[in-house]
């Protein structure tokens, strides 16, 4: 590894010093000359026709520039389902935008909203997917012809055969809640139309190039007239994966006033109008034969996608992947209905279906192990995915460290058991089996539980391109500038990409600048999602750096009079291998290359689109990713049987990341993912009743705080993926994916109740304990 001193180093984030000193410009910090403030009026009712909208009083308020209504809508629909528009004359959810105010001050805009008079004609509400699918149900989008937006129907093998091969079969119904991203920075956009009709949008999006296209289509202008500038992003986690109404609304406001307009969400608005993780009702069934080999899985899901369609509608593809391909499953079926209701809109959130599916699949795995009287870890290892295999779904697994991940967290569990009960000789990965309750008071019970995860780790082709472009320039000070299509959203990609480029060109990381925030400058990229950036943008940056290095070597070989293959790039110098002292500095090479007749700049270019497939539109089979990441977690919990409160004492997390380019950043993804996973397991739920959110604030929607967090142990498992840059695979989403299942399994180990609904609140745990008693 002496040749790769920067790869594998705990390099601090390049953007961290500015963030630590308050110098970073976030979306909320953008201030432009003449900037106005837009606010949005939402519908009072979840399903209603707006029969009268009187904006005259609002327009007369001093400081109000204009009021926008459905009359200001362009004639184009937008969004993943092409079913959305900026302002609605029929509200389909209580977060539907019906008017907007632009004013010189946000408080004036807010006051003006209260002066808009609206009369509604109420329509019947549909708040559950089952009602929406019932015969004769009112159509929420009549032009779609059905409240069923999309049905997924996947299978492999022969389910009947799987059933008949089974010695044990388990089946359960699971309920999954609305969850919010809770980015610390709320949604914000600043839009500015100039006098040439060019729109610039300062945005916190994760998909600048798709947004550029979506926005141009929504507004009916050319994409070449739309420029997206990404500000520093105060958290994203999938929130920024689609176009949302407030973005074209801000653009319309700017076009109408001729001035820049800022629309910034309040925290309450963020909870109401943000794209929540969709709730689901799931029936899942699985079997195994007597020796412990999995025989089949059969899953059906009903997803409430709300009033408009966003990318969340594609999450069944991921749920399907967990169902069909996490462990070796000979026979499987997965169906999902994505159904319109008058509830909140839903969208993409970190894990993209995987936290949901891993919860039910890994709970079933535990039940099967119990039914077979097998150790839950042994049972998982026995059925684990293996390297260099193809799943029946068509996933081509290259590197795979699932077994090693399970072994790592099992060893962690053994350490705990060894500490608590040194006399135990049982190998059971269970505390209850060992009667191990230490010196705890009798109302406190401890248990451990396990769960694994499979996640795309080499991109995910859900759009026709999964590519990313990059350029690498070397200037005449020897300074290197990487321009990447990909985006920093806090996860650390800027630093990881700089490490890859610095390593490849043999320069110090301080000598690399990364530009990644402007669609007018950077090459195309599909967006930051699917844990793809290290793998995809990393490969693109690597290719661009190699191209630049070839140009450097071409010139250096002329200057030094040796063949290019005799050269190496190290410490800002191009040196002749095996000839000490014979070298030339990078800056000299750059200058000598362009300060001459017929000169050229050093400008490397790279485009990487992985060798993967869109899934077949009928069978849903295909290799969606160029590599797959694996992980396992062990949760150790303490259940208070009198209050139902579950305290997680320890969470051991092992993740196969291929190769950790920056172990500190990898740990950060795992630890941060764990915080979300713990919340999903135990505390986080957007409570929606009659189409309205009852807890749209941070007191009533509970995130894990520093005081709530258990000890997080991270184990980085390295398998050196053949396709990844320096062997790396993606890790961004895996941290929180298995957590809820590991905790549910630990609760069972502690107190013998199966939890089939998250979050596993004290009320729900107590109810389960009561039902058992």
């Amino acid at each position: 590894m002496t040749d790769t001193p920067l790869i594998g180093q705990r390099v601090p984030k390049l953007d961290a010093p500015n963030k630590a000193t308050g110098k970073t410009t976030y979306g909320h910090d953008v201030r432009l000359p003449g900037m106005l403030h837009g606010r949005i009026l939402y519908s009072r009712y979840p399903h209603a026709k707006i029969i009268r909208l009187d904006t005259s009083r609002a327009e007369k308020l001093r400081g109000v520039k204009c009021v926008l209504t459905p009359k200001d809508n362009p004639p184009h629909l937008f969004g993943y389902g092409k079913d959305n528009k900026p302002f609605k004359d029929v509200a389909r959810s209580s977060r539907d935008e019906i008017a907007g105010v632009v004013a010189t001050d946000p408080d004036i805009a807010e006051e003006a909203l209260s002066l808009i008079e609206a009369d509604y004609e109420l329509l019947p509400n549909i708040f559950s997917p089952r009602e929406a699918l019932a015969e004769g149900a009112l159509l929420i989008h009549p032009e779609h012809g059905s409240n069923l937006f999309q049905r997924y129907n996947y299978s492999h093998g022969d389910l009947a055969q799987g059933e008949s091969d089974s010695a044990v079969v388990v089946e359960e119904k699971f309920l999954l809640p609305y969850v919010s991203h809770v980015c610390m920075e709320t949604s914000v956009v600043v839009a500015q139309f100039d006098h040439r009709g060019h729109l610039t949008l300062w945005s916190t999006t994760q998909i600048p190039f798709l947004l550029q296209r979506d926005l141009s289509e929504a507004l009916g202008i050319s994409g070449s007239n739309v420029r997206i500038i990404q500000t520093a992003v105060g958290g994203a986690f999938g929130r920024g994966l689609d176009i949302y109404p407030y973005e074209p609304i801000a653009a319309l406001m700017s076009r109408k006033t001729g001035q820049p307009v800022r629309v910034a969400f309040s925290r309450e608005e963020e909870f109401l109008a943000g794209p929540a993780r969709q709730p689901a009702e799931v029936i899942a069934r699985a079997g195994a034969n007597a020796d412990g080999t999995l025989t089949f899985r059969d899953v059906s899901c009903m997803l409430d996608v709300g009033a408009y369609i966003s990318w969340g509608t594609v999450t069944p593809l991921v749920m399907m992947e967990t169902t069909a391909s996490l462990y070796q499953v000979p026979h499987a079926r997965f169906t999902a209905d994505c159904v319109y209701t008058n509830n909140l809109i839903t969208g993409a959130m970190r894990g993209y279906g995987n936290p949901q599916s891993t919860f039910f699949i890994e709970t079933l795995m535990d039940r099967l192990a119990e039914a077979l009287n097998m150790d839950p870890v042994d049972f998982r290892i026995m059925n684990a995915n293996v390297p260099n295999s193809t799943t029946p779904q068509g996933l081509v697994i290259t590197s795979c460290g699932l077994k090693e991940c399970l072994e790592a967290v099992a060893a962690s569990a053994d350490r705990s058991v060894a500490q608590e009960a040194p006399s135990s000789s049982s190998k059971k990965s269970s505390m209850m089996e060992q009667g191990n309750n230490g010196n705890l008071p009798p109302y406190l019970k401890r248990g451990i539980g396990f769960a694994s995860t499979l996640n795309v780790g080499g991109g995910a082709r859900i759009y026709r391109s999964d590519g990313c472009g990059a350029t690498v320039k070397v200037d005449d000070f020897g300074h290197v500038t990487l321009v990447t299509g990909s985006t920093e959203i806090g996860q650390g990609s800027e630093t990881v990409l700089a490490q890859i480029v610095a390593q490849t060109l043999g320069v110090r990381i301080e000598n690399v600048t990364v530009l990644n925030s402007d669609t007018d400058i950077k090459p195309w990229d599909v967006g930051v999602h699917a844990s793809r950036t290290t793998f995809i943008a990393g490969n693109a940056a690597y290719l661009a750096a190699v191209d630049a290095r070839n140009q450097i070597f071409e010139t250096a070989s002329q200057l030094l009079g040796v063949d290019a293959d005799q050269l190496s790039a190290r410490e800002g110098q191009v040196a002749v291998k095996n000839e000490a002292g014979k070298s030339i500095s990078l800056e000299q090479v750059a200058r000598r290359r362009h300060f001459r007749e017929g000169g050229k700049v050093i400008l490397g270019e790279g485009w990487y689109d992985p060798p993967t497939q869109l899934v077949d539109k009928d069978t849903y089979k295909g290799n969606i990713s160029a590599a797959y990441g694996f992980g396992a977690q062990m949760a150790e919990v303490e259940v208070d049987t009198e209050t139902g409160k579950v305290r997680v004492l320890r969470l051991a997390c092992a993740n196969d990341v291929g190769h950790a380019i920056n172990p500190m950043a990898v740990e950060g993804q795992i630890e941060g993912g764990a915080q979300m996973g713990l919340g999903y397991a135990l505390t986080e739920e957007l409570i929606v009743k009659d189409g309205k959110v009852l807890n749209p604030d941070l007191l009533d929607y509970r995130l894990f705080t520093s005081a709530d967090m258990p000890i997080i142990e991270t184990h980085i498992i390295e398998t050196d993926d053949p396709g990844g840059p320096f062997g790396a695979k993606g890790v961004g989403e895996m941290g929180g994916t298995p957590t809820a299942a590991a905790i549910a399994n630990a609760i069972y180990d502690a107190v013998g109740v199966r939890m089939n609904q998250v979050p596993m609140t004290p009320e729900r745990v107590l109810a389960a304990l009561d039902a058992k008693a």
């Binding site: 610390m184 950060g668 967090m709």
Partner: protein, 155 residues
Amino acid sequence: MKTLITLTVNGDAHELYVDARRTLLDVLRNELGLMGAHRGCDSGDCGACTVIVNAQPVTSCMMLAADWNGAEILTVEGMAQDGQLHPIQRALVEKGGIQCGFCTPGFVMNIKALLDENPKPSEDEVRAWLAGNLCRCTGYAKIVEAALSVAEGTS
């Protein structure tokens, strides 16, 4: 209604006419151009707007500026001295306690308040003290590690 007040922010005195409705956070961000304190919730729940007022950590979104005539205020912009990061800032950078960074200024200020009051806190004391600062990226582990490393002088 506007009131004339004087605030000393990071050592600089500012004479300001402030609207009675304006919070300290509004004044810092919109009148003084100090964008380091962030508005995460506007209800005192997230801690991203934490600054130190008269040696006490406060959520500046919950305080009316007009009530604080004569106050001495320290914000994240006043922490680095002579171009050098404050040890708390340096520890957060080096330990990986910063991802999106939106919550970071609030953590910097609240860790300072903690260490001013209790220079050698235990890990539990750090975790309890920081429970009013929410972070959605890091899982807090590296923030807590950074705070402890400053206290132990190992950063």
